[in-house]
Amino acid sequence: MIEVVDLWKSFGAHDVLKGINIAIPQGETFVVLGGSGSGKTVLMKHVIGLLKPDRGAIKVDGVEISSLTGRALTEARQRFGMVFQGAALFDSMTVFDNVAFPLRERRGKRLAAADVRQRVIEKLKVVDLGEEVLGRWPSELSGGMRKRVALARALVSDPQIVLYDEPTTGLDPITTEYVDEMIVHARERLGITSMVISHDIASAFRVADRVGVLYDGHLAAVGTPAEVRASPDPFVQRFLSTWFSKQ
């Protein structure tokens, strides 16, 4: 279970998060919707301990991530997988080395090279990529393929929690639908707890168990997709109408 408790964060004079509270039970997919610059990525980086809050706490299964440092934080992060907005593939490594990276660097018992290769191929298959991409460099991949490789890398060490930062931004509709299916698949088949940051309303409503709409540092609405759609909050109505009015 992920708990965000009264989270505050500012950069200089700019207050980005002003008392965020979220509880995500195990196995749930929670989508944080919001406009550009609303602090969605800042919120996600707090969950995995890449940023420290000014006030408040992040707890994962009761362990306060926000107060951990050094080895304890490193160990806590081993339970996470994260898909970054721009995929964040290591451009000095091939696709194979990118996906194998979390396995090779994992603490504890080392996997044999053959097992690493098998796991990499297996996860690439899950995201519909074949062995022909193993030797390619990230610069040789399309945007959609990069996102899928990033997803394979996030899932390769079988994490309990996966964080997705704008997973469908810049993708064509077919690839977007494919990535959405992957997120649903990760929850249904692997029981993964997911937090998705997005401004893509259609995609959010497809994958979410619950949705939170972030506006001006607060969550303007939280609930199931149907509950959020019925929210009386003026910003939520205006934000959602940009998509629903087209339907």
Partner: protein
């Protein structure tokens, strides 16, 4: 005032970064493959430019010394004085400046690009310390390779001076080499190599820090690289002055 405060804050953060790097260097897993790759990049990759600079610096210095010594009919001392200047000053300082331009700028750019494209965040999210994975191998490689490159500079520089002194200026081999043996002590070479180790650590820490702390997009990376090269060059000159004052007095 605001700029001074920001600069001091940045300097303080860099000191913490350096301390963290030292702490991570002694924690497993150790990464010999990464260290070797960086040694190849910083060392073997810079050998050509350091070799060319060393040869020409030695040739020019040999000719200049010959011109100066001729005034006192002391051309025989050209070899000794060139070797002395090379090993204590020219080789460590020129090598460090050349490697800063070639490898230091590349390090700052690579890490800066990794920072702004979230590759460093990705590494951290996978429970891998970017300082241990990216910074420590570069610092160790620089500390090991700067003295090696300095010796290459020394050797080729002396070769260049020999070429000019003996074959162009016509100084007899005997006095040229004899006075070198007389002038040059092992402590002079070691003094230069110690400087090279210090310069290697300074350049590696400054350039990795500037990349690691880069912000913004391509412009931020570019600014970080420029600052890395400027700060490293100034640090080399300041450290050289301090080391010289400490060793020979003011």
């Amino acid at each position: 005032m605001k700029k001074l405060r920001a600069a001091l804050e940045d300097f303080g953060q860099m000191l913490f970064f350096a301390a963290e790097t030292v702490a991570w260097a002694f924690r497993p897993p150790f990464r010999p493959d990464q260290i070797l790759a960086q040694m190849a990049f910083i060392g073997a990759g810079s050998a050509f430019i350091v070799g060319v600079t060393g040869t020409f610096a030695g040739m020019v210095f040999g000719l200049q010394m010959n011109y100066a010594m001729k005034q006192f009919a002391a051309e025989g001392y050209v070899g000794g004085s060139t070797a002395f200047a090379l090993s204590r000053e020219l080789a460590p300082v020129f090598t460090a400046l050349m490697v800063t331009g070639r490898a230091g700028s590349a390090i700052a750019t690579e890490l800066g690009t990794m920072r702004v494209t979230e590759q460093i965040d990705a590494m951290e999210s996978m429970a891998v310390s970017p300082i241990q994975y990216l910074v420590v191998p570069r610092v160790i490689a620089a500390v090991l390779m700067f003295p090696v490159l300095t010796m290459l500079f020394n050797t080729l520089g002396y070769g260049g001076a020999y070429l000019m002194g003996v074959y162009v200026a016509g100084i007899p081999v005997g006095p040229f080499v004899g006075h070198t043996r007389e002038f040059l002590q092992m402590s002079d070479i070691l003094h230069g190599l110690m400087k090279a180790i210090v310069f290697g650590a300074l350049v590696a820490i400054i350039t990795t820090w500037r990349g690691y702390s880069a912000t913004g997009g391509a412009r931020g990376v570019g600014e970080g690289t420029t600052r890395a090269v400027v700060a490293s060059s100034i640090a080399i000159l300041l450290a050289d002055y301090a080391a010289t004052v400490l060793s020979v007095g003011s």
